[in-house]
């Protein structure tokens, strides 16, 4: 029996379809329903229909503010550090060293982010970098449990996710374009701005979105390096489900976070169009 086109499509899409239905759409529906419910007297969820949870969202204003300032800041910082590195890896380094250096970018992933974040407690703590700076006469400096420490932690943790998409985009770059530019008398800075940078934009966009979306959901690094004082929406969610056990309010906060992310992704898609990057060039979209 020949497999028709329609059957082939169904067969190809069924596993992913079931996966998304069971593990994305169904939980999402549960969260949405819970967000209109109430807190059970001993904690948990009690059915109901109220907008009270959404009305209460301003009580988590600080969490949204922290997330929506540190996530973009972290993304930009990661981009500024990752781009030169990716450029070096894709264009400057000799083939002999390339693989080794690429592996070195991945190596940190072999250790759990929890353990690596704990290491930063000591590096940023009073006996770490501040003590070193003090020895150079820079006065007493507090790093650990500040927004700066969280920024360092998230940039450190997410840097490889920014390096690789940019690296791939730059790697694909047709070198003959640069030679042509040079032949026609363009100085290197000009061929970078007019050829290399625009051609690498898909990688920049993919890396930025990947890092930004993951950062908005982050809770581990703020908890460890922020000492409970730099509170992200992710931390608010953990507390609402595990400590105050207010599942209804927790669901409303989760829905609000999802809505914010959707808005950001929509703005991003528009920006991509404006940059004139073709849709199929952008890995994520």
């Amino acid at each position: 029996m020949a497999i028709t086109q329609a059957r082939a499509r169904a067969l190809l899409l069924t596993p992913a379809g079931l996966w998304y239905a069971a593990l994305l759409l169904f939980p999402l529906a549960v969260v949405l329903i819970f967000s209109f419910g109430e807190r059970n007297p001993i904690g948990g969820y009690a059915p109901g229909f109220t907008l009270e949870q959404y009305a209460n969202l301003p009580a988590r204003f600080a969490a949204f503010r922290n997330t929506l300032t540190l996530a973009p800041l972290g993304t930009v910082a990661a981009l500024l550090i990752a781009y030169p590195l990716a450029y070096y890896l894709a264009i400057k380094v000799s083939v002999r060293w390339k693989t080794t250096l690429l592996i070195l970018v991945i190596v940190p992933f072999w250790t759990s982010i929890l353990i690596r974040s704990y290491a930063w407690i000591y590096l940023l703590g009073g006996n770490g970098i501040p003590a070193l700076l003090e020895a150079f006469g820079l006065g007493e400096l507090r790093l650990i449990n500040t927004p700066f420490a969280v920024l360092v932690g998230i940039v450190y943790g997410y840097l490889p996710l920014m390096v690789f998409p940019i690296y791939v985009a730059l790697e694909k770059l047709d070198k003959s374009l640069l030679e042509a530019a040079s032949d026609l008398g363009a100085p290197p800075w000009r061929s970078f701005l007019q050829i290399t940078l625009p051609m690498s934009m898909p990688g920049v966009m993919t890396g930025s979105m990947l890092v930004f979306i993951l950062l908005t959901g982050e809770f581990l690094i703020p908890a460890i390096l922020g000492g409970g004082k730099v509170f992200f929406v992710g931390n608010a969610l953990v507390d609402l489900f595990l400590q105050s056990r207010n599942w209804a309010f927790g669901s409303a906060v989760a829905v609000a976070l999802i809505v914010i992310m959707l808005i950001v992704v929509a703005l991003y898609t528009r920006a991509v169009r404006r940059f004139g990057v073709r849709r199929d060039d952008v890995g994520l979209m």
């Binding site: 009580a59 000492g227 409970g228 207010n246």
Partner: protein, 384 residues
Amino acid sequence: MTRDNSPITRQKFMEELRRYEKGSITRRHFLGATGLGTAMAVMGGAVPSLLPGRAQAQDLGNRVVLATWPNYHDAANFDRFAEETGVFAQVNVFGSNEEMLAKLQAGGSGWDVFVPTNYAISTYVEADLIEPLDLSRLPNYDAAAFEQRFADAGTIDGTTYAVPKNWGTTGIAFNSSKTGGVVDSWKTFFDGARDQFDGRVMVHDYQLTTIGNALVYFGHSFNSVDPAELADAENLLIDVKPHLFAISSDYQPSMRNGDAWLTMCWTGDGKQMNSDMPEIGFALGREGGEIWSDYYAVPKGAPHREAAYALINYLLDPEVNAREALAHGYPVADSRTNALLPEELLNDPILYPAAESLTPLEFGAAVTLTDPNRAELMARFKSA
């Protein structure tokens, strides 16, 4: 089978395998010639569940899942338990009673034994999440040997749901080389946080103790749920927050490296830090604070119930319990266990403080666990 231990080449192995498949040699000869017999014997020994041992005889299975608190057991005791019964303990560590309750409420925790604190037990009974204990299966539990006030929260309306593990207090750990002396009041704790100890004080990431001790600062009850009194506590906490080093129940690393000078602290953590660094002391708040007792209990629907009883019974054995206490530094309410503990531990002022310093302390009340205002107050404090 004299060739049992000699190595075999790949080619020879395949030849033997073909001969075995064709039936020209016996299974015994095949296992001997290839060395697989030895390998199986060695591996079998390393995986006790493969051996027909006592485990099978008592039908305990080979696994028991324990939900407990950090730094709260002697790991060697679990190894001994595995040797004696063939049951391996899988230990999960939690940060608060709220978190434990949340996991059990969500269902499917897979726990066999958990360690609730006194004030949480009645809520578990109310929510039908905890199993009444069959005391006949806990021969090592002798109710008469336990100090009553550390055991009575386990029994509700005449039914015993939980048996005592340890008791302790929530006091203040201070680094005396930085604080210049003993800190033994919540007044100094919270006022100092905004003054001479600015940026060096830690409070728990735990509503019961953080809100409770802020209430005690004003002379209110540790357990208050009165809105006006809670408002006092909230004002204090929010005022102190910018001056805190951190809000975290994981305070040992920061205290040990000198970043934090002062923290809310449980007895055993105080003892552990004091043993390693004598300059870190532990004192109870003069105005009051918390005294608590932890219990062993079995959740409803425990997947390995037989093993759960065996583990609780084992840990209640006075000799085992004494080894536990030596490892974690929390006091025990069992007179049989205390009889086995060294004199200096029983006289240790951190573990067994003078009776009069315990008088102002309060046991946590059940209402604090479920009160929505306390939960939301803590969340507002953290997200402020």
